[in-house]
Structures are given as structure tokens and as C-alpha cells.
């Protein structure tokens, strides 16, 4: 039970401003003084109106965006690493083993089939192709992607199908920390429920989750605590 109580992610005084050089060096402050902690087995839901910087915050935690100041402390293989100051190689290693991210949209790769796309993270980890494919099939079934589509590249899939492939691609691996950006946005009820189940399974295994969910039902089904980005900004 010790595992459940541990902090996995500590965000400390994060500040992000975009500086647009080609528009007269316009400064666009997004947030500052953002701090929170997430423990293993917790799901922190980021709330606040559209445009308050929730996705930007999530991307900053993934080191996809640079921050002006603050710390993104990640428990990586039982050591604390600050992603905000880590080297590119450390960031890549953390993303490979510890930190998973489901973006809003799937990035399709030409000529790569759905099944290969989904098991790619496992292959990169050194897992053999056969068991990796087995795992991918199980997950695709669970997310109701028809078997007839598995060998096709997902470029021509519907929005909901692409989103489920995107979820499968990240959830196939047991990341200790997960960042989810609207994973259920364009899904029907059945698929939404399947995704909720997957998220809760991960959480019960001890995954620390930070997510954005606009749907109140999803929020209440998976969230264990809330963090209002808008209020945090006002308080700052």
C-alpha cells in the first residue's frame, strides 16, 4: 500500500509566456505560480474555461513546451528529475519509460498500419513483436476498432476512431504517470465508457494521472481531485 501514498509528480511555481517575435515581439502570458502534486493512484482533473491554458500546462509538463520558470519534478526510476531543466536525452528517456501523453489528435505516420502504430512504444522498449501485437489487438478490441481496420494506416479513419487509436498507442504501455488531453472528446457513449474503464484500471494499478475532461460524467467517473487553472492564475 506504500506505493499508493507516494508523490509521483510535483509541479512547483510553473510559469509560461509565449513571445511572438514575428508579431512585434508580442508577449502572451499563459499562467504563473502553478503548483500541485499528484500521488500514485490519483487522477487530477484540470478545470477552467476554454483558453485558460489547460492544454498548454499539460504540454509544458510533457516538456513539449518550454517554461519560463518553475519545476516539473517527475519520479523517474525512483529518482526525482526536474523536466524543466533536464537534458533532451533525459527527457526522451523519461517519456519512453515513465511519462505517457495522449494528445487531442493522432499524428498519423504514412504507410504505418494501425496495429504497428499501436505496438510501436512496446517495440521501442525492446518487447518482441508477437506479444506486443497480441497486447495491441486486445486493446483495439476493447476500444471497438474493427479488426478489418487493423492493417490499414489510420489516416482515413473517422475522428473518433483516430482518437481511440491514439489512446491505445499510449495506454498499451504501463506508464507510472499519464497526461490525458480530452481523451473522450469525440467518442460515443460505449467508447467513452471503455476509455473510462481503461483510465480507472490504470489508476487502480497506481498510475498518477493528470487530465483534461470537458464531459462532467467522465470527470466524475475518473477524477479523484480537481485543480482549477483559472482560479490558480487569479490567486497568483
Amino acid at each position: 500500500m506504500e506505493k499508493i501514498k507516494d508523490d509521483m509528480l510535483r509541479i512547483d511555481n510553473l510559469e509560461k509566456t509565449f513571445l511572438l517575435h514575428n508579431q512585434g515581439a508580442k508577449e502572451l502570458p499563459v499562467f504563473q505560480n502553478i503548483s500541485f502534486q499528484v500521488k500514485a493512484g490519483e487522477c487530477l482533473v484540470l478545470t477552467g474555461a476554454s483558453g485558460t491554458g489547460k492544454s498548454t500546462l499539460l504540454r509544458a509538463i510533457y516538456a513539449n513546451y518550454l517554461v519560463q520558470s518553475g519545476k516539473i519534478n517527475i519520479r523517474h526510476e525512483d529518482k526525482w528529475v526536474d523536466l524543466a531543466s533536464a537534458s533532451p536525452h533525459e527527457v526522451l528517456d523519461i517519456r519512453k519509460k515513465t511519462l505517457g501523453y495522449v494528445s487531442q489528435f493522432l499524428r498519423v505516420i504514412p504507410r504505418i498500419s494501425t496495429i504497428d502504430l499501436v505496438c510501436e512504444p512496446l517495440i521501442e522498449q525492446g518487447k518482441l513483436i508477437k506479444p506486443a501485437k497480441g497486447q495491441a489487438k486486445k486493446l483495439l478490441n476493447k476500444l471497438s476498432i474493427p479488426e478489418s481496420l487493423w492493417e490499414l494506416p489510420p489516416a482515413t479513419f473517422s475522428g473518433g476512431e483516430q482518437q481511440r487509436v491514439n489512446i491505445a498507442r499510449t495506454l498499451i504501455q504501463d506508464y507510472p504517470i499519464l497526461l490525458l488531453d480530452e481523451p473522450t472528446a469525440s467518442l460515443d457513449e460505449n467508447n467513452r465508457d471503455a476509455v473510462i474503464e481503461l483510465i480507472n484500471e490504470a489508476r487502480n494499478r497506481g498510475t498518477a494521472i493528470v487530465g483534461i475532461f470537458h464531459d462532467k460524467y467522465v470527470r466524475e467517473s475518473v477524477g479523484t481531485k480537481m485543480f482549477n487553472v483559472e482560479l490558480a492564475k487569479k490567486a497568483a
Binding site: 513539449n64 533532451p88 521501442e124
Partner: protein, 257 residues
Amino acid sequence: MTKVLLSAKNLSHHYGSQVGCVDVNFDIYPGEVLGVVGESGSGKTTLLKNISGLLRPSSGSVKFDTRVDGLKDIYLLSEPERRLLMRTDWGIIFQNARDGLRMNVSAGANVGERLMAIGARNYGDIRNEATDWLQNVEIGLERIDHYPETFSGGMLQRLQIARNLVTKPRLVFMDEPTSGLDVSVQARLLDLIRGLVSQLSIACVIVSHDLGVMRLLSNRLIVMHQGRVVEQGLTDQVLDDPQHPYTQLLVSSILPV
């Protein structure tokens, strides 16, 4: 962290009063793909030539982790030593495949030649290996004895890749490997490069002005402008949250499909 494979320090190159590249510094680690982007004339190809032993830089050093002696300055090696390095541990994929192939010998011989250069002597083994590699790069086996002259542009580029990778180099330099090919051929080639590089865990330096290619292939990105490195970092971070004015301009100039 694993040790550095290639290290460029304070690298500058001048063509008379013309600037090639200025004060470039970076390290490459085993198995990683480093992208170099920038507009034409920004010094990308000069840099690539400097670090691949093709062009001695005006100043600065290029060190490579040689198998026997560890990190050594490649321009302080003797000519035969450097040649050996280029034949064994390195591969160079030229933008124009004709520069990297021998056009007057067959496709199979183009691949086999590099094996012979590292000491392979058994004809059957060489032929088998060449056959395997032509299959890896999706060239039909009925073409093994044909001259490259009869190949299409995309096939020439794939043959060049087979010729370079057959000796399992530790580092491959690629100069605009997909430019000049139509998009479907380009996608096929990218898929191939992507697969081979990760399977064989080869380190790569890829020069291109195509940011889409970079996002697909590279782990890290260097942005060059007027001969200088203006920004470097994780590929997705540089493309999604560019910091330097030139990079912001570059990224915002992409036409969405």
C-alpha cells in the same frame, strides 16, 4: 548516459570571405537521430561535410568514438585511417544518389562492394547479403544484376541506402535524402529509413529543409540560420514551441495540407 559518438566543437567554415558555418557545437549519442534544418544557404550541407570527413573545417574539431582508440579528431587521423572509418563505421547518403553509387557496376555489386571493402571474400556470402539488403529496401530481386542507370530516382535512393547500411555503420549522414522524390515515394523511403534506423539502432545526422520529415525521423533538432545554430532541442519542442525569431518564422511558414 552512454558515451558520445561524435562531438563537434567550435566548428567554423569559411569559403574565402563567404561564411559556411560559424561556431557550431553539438554531440551525437549512439542510436539517436539528429536533424539539421534551415533554409538554403544556411550552412547545413557545409556542416554535414565538415563532420563527415569530406571537408576540413577552417577551425574547430570533430571527434569520433573510434572502436580502438576512443574519441579521436577525425582530421588528425591519417588519410587511410579516415578512409577506413568512412567505409566501416560511417555511411553517407547523398542528396543525389548518383554521387553515392557507382553507376557502372550492377546493383548487387554496389551493395557487395562495401562488404568486400571490410574484408568479405566469399562470393556466395556477399551475394546473399546483397540479396537480403535489396529486399530490405524493397528492390525486386530480378533487378540485382541491372545497372543503377536503369533505376528510377526513388530506387536509386533506396539502393544508396542499402549500400551504406550493409556494413552496419554506427553513424549515417544523410543530406536531403527525400528531396526531389514525389510524395508517395518519399513516404515509402521515410518509412524505410525510420524502420532501419530504429531496428539497427544507428545514429543519424539528417539535413533537410522539410520540417515534416524532421518530425517523423529526428529525436533532436538543430536550427541553422546564416551559418549559425540559432536554436536546438527536442524535435517536438522546437517545432511546437520555437523560441528564436527565425525558427518561429520557419514553423509558421509551413503550408497546412
